[in-house]
Amino acid sequence: MAKVQIVAHDSLRDKLIDFLQDRGVIHITDLRGKVEGEDEGSEEGSRVDPERAERIRRLTETLSKLQFAIDYLAPFEPKKGGLLSSLAGGGKVVIPPDQYERITSPEGTEELLKAADRCYQLSSEINRLEGRLSRIRADREALQVWGNLDAPIELLEDTERTAIRVGSVPAQTFQEMISELNEATPFYHVELINTSGAESYIVIAFLKEVEGEVNPILAKYGFSPASFPRESGRIPDILAELEREEEEINRRIEGIRAELAGMADARPKLMALYDHLHNELQKLRVQELFLETEKAFILEGWVKEKDLERFREELTSNFSEIDVFAFEPSPEDEPPVAIENMKLVEPFQMVTNLYGLPKYREVDPTPLIAPFFAFFLGLCLTDAGYGIVLILLSILGIKLFGKGKGARQLMGVLALSGAMAVVAGLLTGGFFGVKLPSPFNRLMIIDPSTPEGQTKFLYASWAIGVFQVWVGFLIKFVLSLRDRNFKSAFRADLPWVIMIPAMVMLLPSTFRKIGLTLLLICSVWLIALSDTESKSIAARIGNGFFNWYGISSVFGDILSYSRLFALGLATGIIAQVVNTIAKMVSGIPGIGPVAMVGMLIGGHLFNIGINTLGGFIHTARLQFVEFFTKFFEGGGEPFRPFSKERRYTVVLRPEELTA
């Protein structure tokens, strides 16, 4: 990485920003923030351009409007072309350049923004209508039970001498209430309109002078007054009117939906416009990182070494009033990180990214974890057949989703791990849960179906662990040498590199004496020398002893590799179970063969899926926790060049599509 500063005259601003975005090679850093942080309160260079801020605000608003239209129209867009063609652009919509030109022209933009506005209007109209619709439905439901009431609502008002109450009482106690009313007074009349559910719907009229007798009885029997949505009119008429209204609203909603469906064709254009305006917004936003004076501006960023010469040349030949300075990163700088690897290893960058990028001055661990990762994941499957299926599925995956970087890397990791699963399967004789027959089992060194084989398998997992942990310490030693940190290399790192093989030597009796001697030497070495910082001898010995005690975590690390054995064995046993069940269902009369094939395919695919998932995560953990802790820290900032970003669309000529 090279630090680049560009000083340019204001007249070049737009052209220069366009140029930088188009090239996409410079990671622009916040120069203004840096300067403002250094001398707080200084007015120089900290002027926020109010006009630009306003443009950013407006553009952000427009983008959210477009986003709304794109999301809202999605269900209206007809599904077409099937899965494969929609994936041709890597999941993005393909727009030909001439159409893109039209879309982003002022007229095209205006037209599309109008469409987005219209879409927003229509959506709020639909919301409003649907709200009315649900009110009408509630009204209709409330009135339905009064359908038999002939009298217009306005007649149900009290007269001079009579009171009229309309409402419902529980049907169960209706007769009881009548007899109680009969006892209380003769001056009343009850009309039973309807009995629906557990309620009786009644109209009751009585003389106002007996109100004192009637009201308590009504209250006692749980009379609840009805409320009508209208003040006048006959209920059957009102119901018919509401029905008409509902139909009308439904028709209008249909109409709006049809209009929205008509607009759905414009969705790809809206997407293209979104992408275009998003990039315009980025161009404005990036300027907030610049340091600005009356007539000029300065920007600072990082460019990859290999791009630097060409970048500088293009800048100076395209622009005249410009100065470009390039520096080596100083020790205080923390440049962004871009890792690059050879093709076979490149997919494993996704594993590294999962943990975090290396710091700028750290080594990229990707090539170091790649072989371990593939082999471990293969061990978690331990089945040659599963390995072959995994390879085929990942090749299919690359064909289908290959354009996206993340998907391509994942498929790459799975394919390579599948190859390792074939190796592991040959070593353990596993093939779709069946033991490999005689000509193919030459390589079989472990038979996990026997207790002895399982023990061997577990020991093998530990041995692999010992090896990876040792490699981790070795890398640390080499890195210390590389950084010329000889103190740390020979006093703290090297003893571990010797100690691990020394511990292994303790196992067979022939080397036990040598191993023990080495172990003792290294222990003293660590305790006496490994602390290179402290002044007092006591602190040195104390810290040295603490470092030496790290041996216990090495044991923990190695035991952690047992998971390879457990996952591998579990895969094999489940494969066996699938075969057993398939054999059982093959006996079902009639559908036997079909059920068996279904069980075999479904069961084995499930087993591959669940164990690849589990194996992937556990394998990743072994890299992160057991391996990385020995030599790797991580935490670098990813290199994100200022460039054109496209969320929804790609601009491609039709003939480029097939390439």
């Binding site: 999962l354 952690s560 457990a566 066996q576 669940i610 556990h618 990743a620 953990r621």
Partner: protein, 178 residues
């Protein structure tokens, strides 16, 4: 085997049968780790469904988090299968392989039963706790989808103890020869 005549005799036959204890062990391995996995998945799945009601993208990321506490149930299943293989033995009679129920003493049965306990209880507890960890991972994924891989790694830390349980169950079962 004679015909049991009284309830006491039935009980006696049942509780001195090695097969009975072995079956209890296998059942406990599947049931307890299965309970753990279902609870763990429930926490994570309901949280995921809730998050997805706001933002339905990233289904795949949530799916993986939801699947993670499911593995304990599978480990219990594997252990039970190893027990089932011990319940029968094949003997060659007149050149044909015939499957018999293994003659299993009460002591053997009890040994198998206790051998199943590590995965049964480690599976039960770790699946529930892993569900909690993965639920926190769902939160993390909702706010920062790119970080979901790290949430998975946290979940795997909990799972390791179920794996240790399974390993010990397997080796304990291996030591019991019938």
């Amino acid at each position: 085997m004679g015909v049991a005549t009284t309830f006491a005799e039935v009980l006696d036959k049942l509780f001195t049968s090695g097969q009975m204890y072995a079956i209890m062990g296998a059942a406990a391995a599947v049931v307890l780790s299965g309970i753990g996995s279902s609870l763990g998945i429930r926490y994570t799945a309901t949280a995921s469904a809730g998050v997805m009601s706001e933002d339905p993208r990233n289904f795949g990321r949530y799916l993986i988090l939801v699947a993670l506490p499911g593995t304990q149930g599978i480990y219990g299943f594997v252990a039970a299968f190893l027990v089932i293989m011990k319940l029968t033995s094949q003997v060659e009679v007149n050149g044909q392989l015939v499957t018999f129920a293994s003659a299993m003493s009460t002591a053997h049965g009890l040994q198998i039963f206790f051998a199943c306990m590590p995965i049964a209880f480690a599976g039960l507890a770790s699946a529930i706790q892993q569900g909690r960890v993965c639920t926190a991972g769902v939160d993390l994924t909702a706010k920062q989808p790119e970080q979901s891989g790290k949430a998975l790694v946290f979940g795997v830390f909990v799972e390791f103890y179920a794996i240790l349980g399974l390993i010990i169950t397997i080796f304990l079962l291996n030591t019991i020869t019938i």
